[in-house]
Symmetry: C2
Subunit: 203 residues, 2 copies
């Protein structure tokens, strides 16, 4: 574990660079322009030649007994579960940067609804494909291609709903995806989390 910053941070994020849940929190911190100390948790990755499982060690389990990343700390809380962490950050820093949790009860409710859609529909659909196409190899395993097609088929159904929903506000999934992918908060995180993949010529 090491720190990216030398001065005392407002908060601390424990997580693995390639962890999607860790990225979820990092991007929200970036959106809010909140400085944080990123403590790399070695969750065992043969591709990166880090072979310990720090998230299963007693000192980590004392902070998150479920033994998962990310873990988040600020002056008020030590907590886990990325979708709870981003709600906390959005509420606590509502006046600072974009109003990620909406500006009234109806918007907050819709943010909650679409966060749950991601958690209960999008993620379960896409996760098997991502695991077997990407992560399996990183963990030194062979991905099972038979899992990929049903996962993609399920994902397509979810994206069909996104498409019809986004038609009301944004011109379709493709442009929505492009707009969120190109947000500075996300690009900044990619450069930090995947330095070998996303080379920054201006760094």
């Amino acid at each position: 574990m090491y720190s990216h910053h030398s001065k005392p941070p407002q908060c601390r994020l424990y997580g693995a660079p390639y962890s999607i849940s860790t990225s979820r929190v990092a991007v929200v911190l970036n959106e809010k322009n909140i400085e944080y100390e990123w403590r790399i948790v070695d969750t065992g990755n043969r591709g990166l030649r880090i072979l310990r499982s720090e998230h299963k060690e007693p000192r980590y389990l004392a902070l998150n007994p479920f033994g998962k990343t990310p873990l988040f700390q600020d002056h008020e809380v030590t907590m886990y579960e990325s979708r709870a962490v981003i709600r906390h950050i959005a509420r606590k820093h509502d006046e600072h940067g974009p109003h990620l949790y909406g500006t009234n009860e109806k918007e907050r409710t819709m943010v909650d609804q679409w966060l749950e859609v991601e958690s209960q529909n999008f993620n379960p659909a896409i996760a098997p494909a991502v695991y077997h196409l990407v992560f399996a190899a990183w963990f030194g395993k062979i991905g099972d291609v038979r899992v990929v097609n049903p996962s993609i088929a399920r994902l397509e159904k979810v994206l069909d709903v996104y498409e019809s929903q986004l038609m009301k506000t944004k011109p379709h999934v493709q442009s929505w995806w492009t707009s969120i992918f190109n947000r500075p908060s996300w690009m900044s995180h990619l450069l930090k989390a995947y330095p070998k993949i996303y080379f920054n010529p201006h760094a």
Copy 2:
């Protein structure tokens, strides 16, 4: 679909009686003592001899394009995803009944964390066992017992964490379970949702 009430309700819940997600919303409405109209959605249940799939019909998909129950309506919103619905009810009716979403930011954050623990740890662990031990037969299928043991083993690990967490506030999982199981909000829902199983001698 039919209504349990004749006067106009504050809100409406579309769902199947045996749906766990629907129960999640019903119990929170009961906790808040909010009158609601329950519109039964026939999601196809051979055990109950209801064989349509109303949640896949166009008039239902127009309200919830993911084709799942529950669906919730009040004067402000039409929404889905049970864990988003209960957050909405808890926020909107915070002054009415128990403060389900806590009374300060730290408590709200811990409510969010444990809601996510349920969604990401408890439910994925227990769901396969519940499906293969209970629901499969209801759907006219044969449960696969080979799925049950790993599911229970995973659940036990989650409950071990609950146990150590509850030691700080409640004397262990068993008494916590007894206390929530016996809440009037839950008993009232069981009598409504499972009238053949939970016979109420005082009804």
